[in-house]
């Protein structure tokens, strides 16, 4: 397949532009490219950028992408983006990709970089209110979920209880002693309605993966684990701007794409990992990927379906709540999926042949989802 560039434009002005912040320079160029191509944001399903996070660009322009590239390796980043975009379009990961650049190099307006300085939307419109990172912001939609779907404090606590059961089977888990719902609800309040045991650990650690072609994989010493499908998306850098506090758009897009590209249905998944920075993440993951109807995941977990011996073993390493959480836990979720597919996990799920691994980035800002299998598709 040959891939082509069908729209191209620079910012309306060049030179000295003190009237536009850096993100608006990205946006101005993007809108001009839309005009050049006769498109608008809703026609775009892939975003690549450097200097700003692709999350910021997608949210600012109103794009719900199913392919994202934030490779940032200096001034040639955009050549890499074009190359990655061509590969993505060939692979069917996206149909229409936007690559943006904007830099207030002279005027220095709104130059926050990826984290966002004092002029970023995050710093302006969430920073003043005493937010303290994930404990206060990742968790802020849960009371709305509880009111809307009737989830109880006990059901939320049950997520931590079940994952501790898995951790008890894992010699490498940080916390292995069994806990009860009362233990969770009696642990220190961190940010109501979240208690200490409903928040992830803070640990050190690392992980690495090596990938090659399926053809070459047979020559390596360990059982190959095959990538059956994958998905990705971003929604917003600001939790307060999520379209629905009780559901993650990035989960929905990434999960559906991963299952579609793997050609699997819900019944094909033998093992599942959902990045659990906080106890509600598995609930959001199960519902946003369609394993449960909206509002039904708390009862699904409470009824034992995700615990050892249940129909959908979930977070079998003990998860971020009990195994470990170094900050960017996604690598450890992938490692557990690999172990399960190799058949070497401490809490091995008998006969598991397909594993779905759902990651979150930021606070529902981004998601990546990988489906693995232990047989060549």
């Amino acid at each position: 397949m040959t891939v082509a560039i069908v729209g191209a434009a620079e910012t309306t002005e060049l030179g000295k532009i003190p009237g536009l912040s850096q993100i608006q320079l990205h946006a101005d160029a993007a809108l001009n490219a839309f005009a050049d191509a006769g498109l608008k944001a809703s026609d775009i399903d892939g975003v690549a950028t450097a200097g700003e996070s692709p999350v910021n660009i997608a949210h600012y322009l109103g794009i719900a992408p199913r392919w994202v590239d934030g490779s940032s390796v200096g001034g040639c980043s955009f050549m890499l983006h074009v190359r990655h975009a061509a590969a993505a379009i060939e692979a069917g990961y996206a149909d229409t990709i936007l690559v943006t650049h904007g830099e207030s190099g002279r005027s220095g307006v709104g130059r926050g970089g990826r984290g966002g300085g004092a002029g970023s939307l995050l710093a302006q419109f969430e920073g003043p209110y005493g937010s303290m990172g994930p404990t206060t912001m990742f968790t802020i939609g849960v009371l709305r979920y509880m009111k809307h779907y009737g989830m109880t404090h006990e059901q939320l606590a049950m997520v931590a209880v079940v994952q501790r059961e898995w951790a008890g089977m894992n010699p490498r888990a940080s916390y292995r002693d069994p806990i009860t719902v009362d233990d969770v609800l009696n642990s220190r309040m961190i940010a109501y309605p979240f208690h200490l045991l409903e928040c992830c650990l803070v640990t050190d650690g690392g992980g690495a993966l090596i990938l090659t072609s399926a053809e070459r994989a047979a020559d390596f010493p360990n059982k190959p684990v095959y990538i059956l499908g994958s998905g990705e998306s971003v929604e917003t850098p600001m939790v307060s701007q999520m379209k629905d506090l009780t559901s993650s758009q990035a989960f929905r897009i990434a999960g559906a794409e991963a299952m579609r590209s793997a050609g699997i249905g819900h019944g094909d998944v033998d093992h599942m990992m959902v990045y659990d920075a906080f106890a509600h993440l598995p609930i959001w993951g199960l519902e946003d990927l369609g394993f449960c109807e909206r509002g039904e995941a708390p009862a699904f977990i409470e009824d034992g379906n995700t615990r050892p011996g249940g129909v959908l073993p979930l977070n079998t390493n003990g998860g971020g709540l009990s195994y470990m959480h170094s900050g960017m836990y996604g690598m450890y979720a992938l490692q557990e999926s690999v172990r399960q597919m190799r058949g070497t996990a401490p809490a091995q799920v008998p006969g598991a042949a397909v594993s779905l691994c759902l990651g979150v980035g930021g606070m529902f800002a981004a998601s990546g989802c990988i489906v693995m299998g232990n047989e060549l598709p």
Binding site: L20, A27, G119, F125, Y129, R144, Y192, V239, S240, L245
Partner: protein
């Protein structure tokens, strides 16, 4: 959350050219939103383009300042600018957009902070910047 001697001021925003109208508004007691002239979409935070249809033809207007309590947490960990525990809330404005804020003139407890309670904007003067906060509507006379 009332002013406490020795408490550090809350982290203050640094307006950009695209958000200046919003912060000019809070300074004079107005909560300003934007509306697309092509598709009528009302949105926040500020930017000179419509995130629904990519139009550049957008206008600024004064919102009613009324909304409801959509969700919140009550933070129990210490923050240099707040006397804890204090609530961080998401307010849904009558015009549709949501925004993060704090709830003032109200006990910071689950019993006092009831989801969907009506709220109205109030502005906290911080020198060059006024921060929009919300308080219960119809509760403080």
């Amino acid at each position: 959350m009332a002013d406490t001697p020795g408490r550090r001021p809350r982290p203050l925003p640094q307006p950009t050219p695209e958000t200046r109208h919003f912060w000019d508004g809070t300074k004079v007691g107005e909560l300003r939103l934007q509306r697309c002239n092509d598709c009528e979409h009302v949105y926040f935070p500020p930017r000179p383009l419509c995130p629904a249809c990519s139009s550049r033809d957008v206008e600024v207007f004064n919102a009613s300042g009324s909304g409801k309590l959509l969700s919140y947490v009550i933070n129990h960990r210490p923050h240099p600018s707040f006397d804890g525990p204090y609530a961080i809330a998401i307010v849904e404005l009558d015009e549709g957009p949501t925004m993060l804020s704090n709830i003032v003139d109200c006990e910071q407890t689950p019993q006092a902070l009831v989801l969907d309670m009506p709220l109205e904007v109030t502005f906290e003067d911080n020198g060059d910047i006024a921060i929009p906060l919300f308080r219960p509507r119809e509760s403080q006379s």
